[in-house]
Symmetry: C3
Subunit: 333 residues, 3 copies
């Protein structure tokens, strides 16, 4: 009978600081041993090589970035028709809307119904394709990492850099100035071919920021794709819409001109992600890697205890008090 409960409690409390560690039995079985080490090495290799080095599993990723896109077109086009003579078109005439948004439409062809009388004008082609499109993306990465601003324009002291540079993936990744023909070419199409019936081009800018490596590792990548093309004939290729200009005559009566404008719609879409070291994903990846090691033990145990020659003997040693010995020894003559 234990009377001295206080003393026992004290002993129990002290035994909290006894270090308890699993007892192992050593199976001198090189086959299973090597199998175990091989699988263990694979898991360690997977965790370090794939999860941490390749996939940056130690980083928290933020995909919710906020972006502001400003576009500007430059260049003049000239049309020469029998009806209107020579007309000079500036961006203020051929870009809709003119204020430089992320979605912009460049008129390449139009059909005028003046004074809203029937009788269509012939198609007027704008011969010279506009010079270039400047896409200025201010990319604000926020939320987890306080406030960070990134721009796709090179930081330089050369005032005239943006005036003369043209985008080049290798040489000028931070010069967001494109010739329209170059954009459609990268999307796999010819600007002149698209001019007659218009089309829709997606300009996707992807930011991939590694905030652990400082400012220099935050690159914008550009993808260009034509959006109004499909493998079938359902959706008509091309892009057009109608708009009107309203006038009043001397008597104050309204009349209007209807324009059906064909052109290329450019849609600048920005997304991105930013990764930064964080203890939580690191702990999760290390922790679950370690747990998988436990599964290796389970698997190797199965091999050892059921597939090896001396499996019964191993079972006896591994499971103390299991009674495996007695079961079989009883039936062994």
């Amino acid at each position: 009978m234990c009377r001295m409960a206080g003393s026992i409690c004290q002993t129990r409390l002290l035994s909290l600081f006894d270090y308890k560690t699993e007892k192992y039995i050593v199976a001198k079985n090189k086959k299973v041993g090597i199998l175990y080490r091989l699988i263990q090495l694979s898991i360690i290799g997977y965790i370090i090589g794939w999860v941490f080095l390749s996939k940056k599993g130690y980083q928290e990723t933020d995909e919710a970035i906020q972006t502001s896109v400003i576009t500007k077109l430059k260049g003049v086009s000239v049309t020469n028709t029998s009806e209107s003579g020579v007309l000079v078109w500036g961006p203020e005439d051929y870009v809709i809307p003119p204020q430089g948004e992320a979605v912009l439409f460049v008129i390449t062809n139009f059909l005028e119904t003046p004074n809203q009388k029937l009788g269509y004008f012939p198609l007027y082609f704008i011969y010279n394709s506009p010079e270039h499109l400047c896409v200025n993306t201010e990319c604000a990465l926020t939320s987890v990492f306080f406030l960070i601003l990134r721009s796709n324009v090179l930081k330089t002291n050369d005032d005239s850099y943006l005036k003369k540079c043209r985008y080049d993936e290798e040489l000028h990744p931070y010069c967001p100035i494109f010739r329209l023909g170059e954009i459609t070419r990268r999307a796999g199409h010819n600007f002149q071919d698209m001019a007659a019936f218009g089309g829709s081009i997606g300009i996707m800018i992807e930011w991939d920021c590694d905030l652990d490596k400082g400012d220099s590792r935050c690159h914008p990548r550009y993808h260009f794709t034509r959006l109004d093309i499909s493998s079938d004939k359902t959706v008509a290729m091309g892009f057009n819409f109608r708009h009107t200009r309203y006038y009043k005559n001397e008597a104050g009566e309204s009349y209007r001109s209807l324009f059906k404008v064909y052109g290329v719609r450019f849609n600048i879409m920005v997304n991105g992600k930013a990764g930064k070291f964080s203890i939580i994903p690191t702990a999760i990846n290390v922790g679950s890697g370690l747990a998988l090691m436990g599964a290796v033990t389970f698997f190797c145990d199965m091999v050892l205890l059921y597939l090896m020659k001396k499996s019964t003997s191993y079972r006896e040693r591994k499971y103390e008090g299991s009674g495996y010995e007695s079961i079989c020894s009883n039936f062994t003559p």
Copy 2:
């Protein structure tokens, strides 16, 4: 004294390939045994059933999709007022802006202040509601999965499909053509009721893509909701804004007409996520599931070692060299 250190090292090195496995004691206690198996089964069921089958825990999810929305309205409306007589309105007149963006405004009512003289015109109702709105969403899922394009328009060889189809959740989920009245009805409101003071309707398109199941498993789902409605009276219902048309008279002097236009503002919002098998989330979910199994052992140990009758005997066997026996045996007469 160990002199032959080399030999020992060799032995140690070889012992690396000895397979070491935890020694278990078997407690022939069916209560705890069944408890253990039940909890173990629950965890396995949770991992397989909930994490993997239901929540697709083996997939990496990408929520950063890039979308391009093109809208087009069709249909003609007629107004008949004493001041202006019969007027025919096309989309170029009643849609602002006319170029087919993701946010578009359909004029349903307006108030003109012509020539910028005071004296308001009466409200002009546009009697016939516009025919239909075509929402053409090109949805580009990018980043993790190279570049994938999805469209909410059915791939078909039938040229006239889009000319005659109307959206239906069951029958025509890939026909993004809606009657305006149908949109407001789905948002719980009547288009005619909204026409007088306008309103704001959100059209949310959600893409849920399972990239493991091929192209066919990438469905857009539509939600319609009225945004200018709240449970209280703070925010006035309705939607309107003012815009102007500028004219010049013969003398070259500018004058303008001010329009206060009421109407329904449609905002097409697209988001989505794409899941694809990835080894990392799989390993994390399996690993942490296995680790939870360890917690089961800990819990069942507590039951066995503290709540069972023969707990002292189990403790003695489990903890070799703990001195539990001696503590009590010393005090036992």
Copy 3:
């Protein structure tokens, strides 16, 4: 020889419900014991304190929110020039586009080239800065949590609240009404200084929703930043674009006025995230935390088995059948 296989199978099946638990050896080494408990406590503290309480590791986070932004400007400005005399400007004149989108441009200065004849007009300053900007964000959090609508406007029964309130981080966080000068001031700039050459201001609204804590815990936070400023001179500060107004004379001939407008471009960007309790991240965090505990055992084992005085004796006890004793005892005289 085991003949009675059936009986053995039955015994094996029953042994499934024997509870097996690791055998531990107790090392009465208080140093390692305390080290083990300290690391164990640190991990528990990290899991509970950092992962769960601070970082809400029990929540699933949804960053894909859908937002609809409506803007409205109010206020009248007056310009007084020798050429045009006194002109009154309403928002319909100085806001482009007028329909209240997320990107809006406020004219602060312009240059007119009337009738498309050369000869520039002097810069006209709009003296009085527009009164205020109302940013009404309807924020629809979707996807994981069915459909949830949040607005950055206070829910109140006071009709006139929005008419008299002004945004204040502390007092009126749900009054999204700003004076333009206040916005630029918060972005670190003076509106009057920006008026001459324009500029670009980003208004970022971040939603941080804790859906476990009910409606009240879904706050919008505002950040204001100037986007057209950079540390170098590459990108010219300021913002301007050209637009045209088209007229017809009595003879039906078209002519136009070209405006180069300078002004402040406001870009309202909304993002956010919503967290809600979910069993999966909870299980992952608990599971990997438990697995890390396993690593502690491994580390403490290393200390015990290699750095402690009696390490050989511990090794002998921990690894049953390892032959460590025999290796050394053989060489010991």
